[in-house]
């Protein structure tokens, strides 16, 4: 397996692991509260729908000329990746609360418990809709990453869409097996660290492809991706440190103002 293929699998694996943990929380909460049949069928249908999106749009996108594809996909991937990175930096610096799977699980359970029941054709449609929405919406980001990453890597990785899908499927299996074993939300998974890593990878590839699409020649060719990744990692840690210091100063100022009031 080449370095590009490893990075491709790793990116989709990490992205799918993050989103899988979030989707699992919803399915578990609904299943434990309202029974397993409807949410499990919903999760299966949502997964099939996402697979269909990859099968349809992956090869279709690969038909575009590589320069146009890299410019468009690189731009979208960079905007998308910077969104993930921004959220991860805000969480790491304490400006945004870390995602608490246990608390979200309890909230979902409470909502599922108090909602009315509508059973038709042997299905609890409330449970079905909730689980379908949870899996499909979380999975849509993974499908998007698989399609864009896979299609744009077609020159460097043979069968790139399938390779990208492999990463997502492996992560999905890991999350499902872990969920079935522990039977509770995977609150110990370091979600923000994973989100941080995915944000860095998406942004690095977004920069590489987007800029290459404008006609730029990267020094060191494909190797420059590693350089971009290191640069972005250092810059992101710098931003986390800056925000942490700002937050400490704000806390001290607020505490000082409180003392002054007394």
């Amino acid at each position: 397996m080449t370095t590009s293929a490893v990075i491709l699998v790793l990116s989709t694996f990490l992205a799918c692991a993050v989103e899988g943990v979030e989707a699992l929380t919803v399915v578990l909460a609904v299943g434990v509260t309202r029974g397993w049949r409807s949410p499990l069928i919903a999760a299966g249908v949502a997964t099939l729908a996402l697979a269909a999106l990859i099968v349809i749009f992956g090869p279709a996108l690969s038909l575009l000329p590589i320069d146009a594809l890299r410019l468009v996909v690189g731009t979208v991937l960079l905007i998308f990746g910077m969104g993930w990175l921004r959220k991860a930096i805000l969480r790491a610096s304490g400006y945004k609360a870390l995602r608490d799977e246990a608390a979200l699980y309890e909230r979902e359970r409470e909502q599922a418990r108090t909602a009315g029941t509508e059973v038709r054709a042997g299905m609890d449609w409330y449970a079905f809709t909730l689980a379908f929405k949870g899996v499909f919406l979380e999975g849509l980001e993974v499908a998007f990453i698989v399609i864009t990453f896979g299609a744009t890597s077609k020159d460097t990785v043979p069968h790139s869409i399938q390779v990208a899908t492999l990463g997502a499927v492996l992560a999905l299996l890991a999350v499902v097996i872990a969920g079935a074993l522990v039977h509770q939300p995977l609150s110990r998974v370091p979600e923000n660290t994973l989100k941080f890593s995915v944000g860095l990878m998406l942004s690095a590839f977004g920069i590489f492809w987007g800029v290459e699409g404008t006609g730029v020649t990267w020094p060191g060719a494909d190797l420059s991706i590693l350089g971009i990744l290191v640069f972005l990692t250092l810059a992101s840690f710098g931003l986390v440190t800056m925000l942490r210091r700002m937050r400490e100063r704000q806390t001290l100022t607020t505490a000082g103002a409180g003392m002054g009031m007394k």
Partner: protein
């Protein structure tokens, strides 16, 4: 019409996310890079600088929202 609006809003939220400044900044930086390339300047460094500046601006905007 309502469905089309909702559909467009969903994709806007999905791609652009929480801060439009990042999306607008990335597009502008790419346009400037393309212009420089047309003028024989291999500006591979421009987007790296732009990304750090845009992230910093967006993060500062977010931290100031609470104050």
């Amino acid at each position: 019409m309502h469905f089309i609006k909702q559909f467009a809003l969903f994709w806007y939220d999905f791609i652009v996310g929480d801060d439009w400044v990042i999306a607008a900044g990335v597009v502008i930086a790419l346009i400037v890079t393309a212009i420089l390339v047309r003028n024989q300047i291999n500006a591979w460094w421009l987007m790296l600088v732009a990304v750090v500046i845009l992230l910093a601006i967006s993060l500062l905007r977010e931290t100031r929202k609470g104050h």
